[in-house]
């Protein structure tokens, strides 16, 4: 803990200092992320609650295509996170074109994730999954599956759009490296949430047949 960011002789509690040593936009994003994390915690807990309280929880996810495809989706998100890290590094070094290119790779990972996920939804709907009915067991399965993965897909979609806007603005000099870093925080958070949805929704419902 250094005292950097504080004025000499002034404690953080008296104002005039910067207790977190980060800019206000970044603090705002962190506060948003922690509140959004609580939203996802609540939704995941509701899912677990309904699951424990149900007699026949469906296990519709076969090795092929569901588990293989969702593993590839995990790979897409993890890889898009590392390309986002590269984008932030490039942006901080002032390499504008490189940063924009890495952001575009990140968006590509996000779009691949979305397309694979949409296809997964399409197949499950084709097999008869609906929000309040399905051919396998507890009717509530569909509601929890669609709301959890749907909320996450919405976040990924917003992330892709946000990154597109930031990349275009950064190239034109409208946005700074700080903006790239802050949008990166959001992107990593979306990745992080998937690290819980993937095992809780998919891996705990694998079909052993």
């Amino acid at each position: 803990m250094s005292s950097a960011g504080q004025q000499a002789g002034v404690s953080s509690w008296e104002g005039g200092g910067s207790p977190f040593s980060i800019n206000s936009k970044k603090l705002g994003m962190w506060l948003f992320i922690i509140s959004d994390a609580l939203t996802f915690t609540g939704v995941l807990m509701a899912y677990s609650y309904v699951r424990v309280a149900s007699e026949e929880w469906p296990t519709p996810f076969h090795m092929w295509p569901s588990i293989v495809v969702s593993s590839i989706m995990t790979f897409c998100l993890l890889t898009s996170s590392i390309t986002m890290v590269m984008a932030v590094t490039a942006a901080k070094q002032g390499r504008v074109q490189a940063a924009a290119r890495w952001i575009h790779f990140t968006m590509l990972g996000g779009v691949a994730f979305l397309l694979l996920h949409a296809n997964e939804w399409r197949e499950l709907i084709h097999e008869g999954l609906r929000p309040f009915e399905n051919p396998w067991g507890t009717p509530m399965f569909g509601a929890t599956f669609f709301s959890l993965t749907g909320l996450h897909m919405l976040h990924v979609t917003i992330g892709v759009v946000l990154l597109g806007i930031i990349a275009a603005g950064f190239k034109r000099g409208r946005y700074t490296a700080d903006h790239v870093e802050i949008s990166g925080l959001y992107w990593h958070f979306v990745d992080l949430v998937w690290m819980f949805i993937f095992p809780l929704v998919y891996l705990l419902s694998v079909s052993m047949e």
Binding site: M1, G5, S12, L38, I67, T79, H188, M195, Y202, L204
Partner: protein
């Protein structure tokens, strides 16, 4: 604004690639575990344990929280842990919900 901030210590590309490889490795272990016939509690502990480690790696390195001041960590993370623990107060109800159901 960044002029007031001290220069953050940053990780190297090698470090980030290491974290990425570790995250991928843990994902593969999770998929492998899903096909092992383990008791549900043990399976949950293993999967959630790995997921928490993965989340911690993402927050610490990709989201740079490890390189920020401790005050930011102390403002954000204990609050999340506390609220999550409070949400668990409702959870035991789910175990007896089946017996409470109208026939």
């Amino acid at each position: 604004m960044s002029t007031t901030a001290h220069e953050h210590k940053e990780g190297t590309t090698r470090l980030y690639l290491g974290v990425w490889a570790a995250l991928l490795g843990m994902t593969i272990v999770e998929v492998f575990l899903a096909y092992e016939h383990l008791p549900v509690q043990l399976m949950l502990i293993c999967l959630m344990g790995l997921s928490i480690i993965k989340a911690a790696l993402i927050v610490a390195y990709f989201m740079h929280l490890r390189f920020e001041r401790l005050s930011l960590f102390l403002t954000l993370v204990p609050m999340w842990v506390l609220v999550t623990c409070l949400m668990f107060i409702f959870f035991p109800d789910s175990f007896r919900l089946l017996e409470l159901r109208w026939p």
